[in-house]
């Protein structure tokens, strides 16, 4: 394994979970999230030389992930056929636990928020410090706190509305 590959592996191991959450929260679709996560890490690999000058790795990765998500504009339909997806969903359906079903529901609710709200709340749920979220999203910390308060209420309301049905 080359030095670059070793560095990339350690970056991937430490960050893939959070990046996946962000992409899933943004798209509301696990297949699209996997595609975006893969795209994010490909860009991480292509820009590894730029990382060497950065101190905060998570901010750097999140920036790439957020910008990759923003480029995902749903203009073109996904290449994966619906038929294959349906088959996968059918097979997996029985295995999905009750808790996981609630998590999936939570993702669906996040997908109903505005794009920047999805990105911010996913990071809040993953316990990224507010200062870092502000740095990643380019919003002032004061403004961010107000936004987070509003998004939390909005998400809770959407979730509870869905749970009632």
């Amino acid at each position: 394994m080359t030095q670059n590959e070793a560095l990339f592996k350690s970056i991937f191991d430490r960050n893939n979970r959070k990046v996946y959450h962000l992409c899933y929260g943004y798209t509301g679709d696990s297949d699209a999230a996997n595609d975006l996560m893969q795209e994010t890490f490909i860009k991480v690999w292509q820009n590894l030389d730029k990382f060497r000058n950065q101190s905060q790795i998570s901010t750097w990765i999140y920036r790439i992930a957020v910008n990759t998500c923003l480029s995902y504009l749903r203009v073109e339909k996904r290449k994966v056929t619906d038929e294959i997806n349906e088959r996968i969903i059918e097979t997996k359906a029985d295995e999905v636990s009750d808790k996981q079903e609630q998590v999936n529901q939570l993702y669906k609710c996040i997908a109903q928020l505005e794009e920047n709200e999805r990105i911010i709340i996913t990071m809040v749920l993953d316990e990224v410090p507010y200062q870092e979220i502000a740095e990643i999203s380019g919003i002032s910390e004061g403004n961010l706190r107000v936004k987070i308060h509003r998004i939390k209420n909005k998400l809770t309301e959407i979730y509870n509305r869905h749970e009632r049905f």
Partner: protein
């Protein structure tokens, strides 16, 4: 009824995603890189072969008029320009400093990029077609020395008809489609920009 803290607890019990592994990403990187390199190489080699062949013809064939050489020169310039633009564009979008910018700045960059692609796909394509028409027109002068007047007229009419169809029908449809696509994209990007700057 759940409050936000309960949603947060729920968030932390979610299953690990096993959809994409480190090995799969590395293999995709290698595969994409190889695929792109071979595609690029094919492009460059094809252009070089065409340029060399044209140069050979340029030097060895005694043409009746200099307009033929000019037409060859125009075609070569068009081909090389097209290749350079495609390569530069690919590099710009794949290894971009802009990826590390704040979302608001990145959205501005995306907006400019989409406009640039639109211009490339419409205005530059138009110029490309015009240059090609001029090149064929110039070659017709050379042809007039070899073929009969009727054959030349048929060839000229067929060529003009083809370019008129391209320009007034196919290109109009294409530009309309591209323009609608751009409008939709810019609308979405504007919406995103408002969210991040608001």
């Amino acid at each position: 009824m759940k409050d936000f803290n309960e949603l947060k607890q729920l968030w932390h019990v979610q299953q690990e995603n096993e959809g994409v592994s480190y090995d799969a990403i590395l293999s995709t990187i290698r595969h994409t890189k190889n695929k792109y390199t071979s595609k690029l190489l094919t492009h460059v080699i094809s252009i070089i072969i065409i340029v060399l062949m044209t140069l050979y013809i340029f030097v060895t064939v005694p043409f009746y008029t200099w307009t033929t050489q000019l037409s060859m020169f125009i075609v070569i310039i068009c081909l090389i320009y097209y290749m350079i633009v495609q390569i530069k564009d690919y590099q710009a979008i794949n290894k971009s400093e802009n990826l590390l910018n704040k979302p608001e700045e990145y959205i501005s960059y995306l907006t400019i990029y989409k406009h640039h692609r639109y211009k490339l796909n419409t205005r530059n394509y138009k110029i490309y077609t015009i240059c090609l028409s001029i090149a064929i027109g110039l070659y017709l002068i050379e042809m007039s020395f070899y073929v009969s007047a009727i054959a030349l007229a048929i060839f000229a009419v067929a060529t003009i008809a083809w370019f008129l169809i391209c320009y007034f029908i196919l290109m109009k449809v294409y530009i309309k489609k591209e323009s609608e696509k751009l409008e939709e994209l810019i609308g979405k990007l504007k919406n995103l920009k408002d969210q991040f700057s608001g």
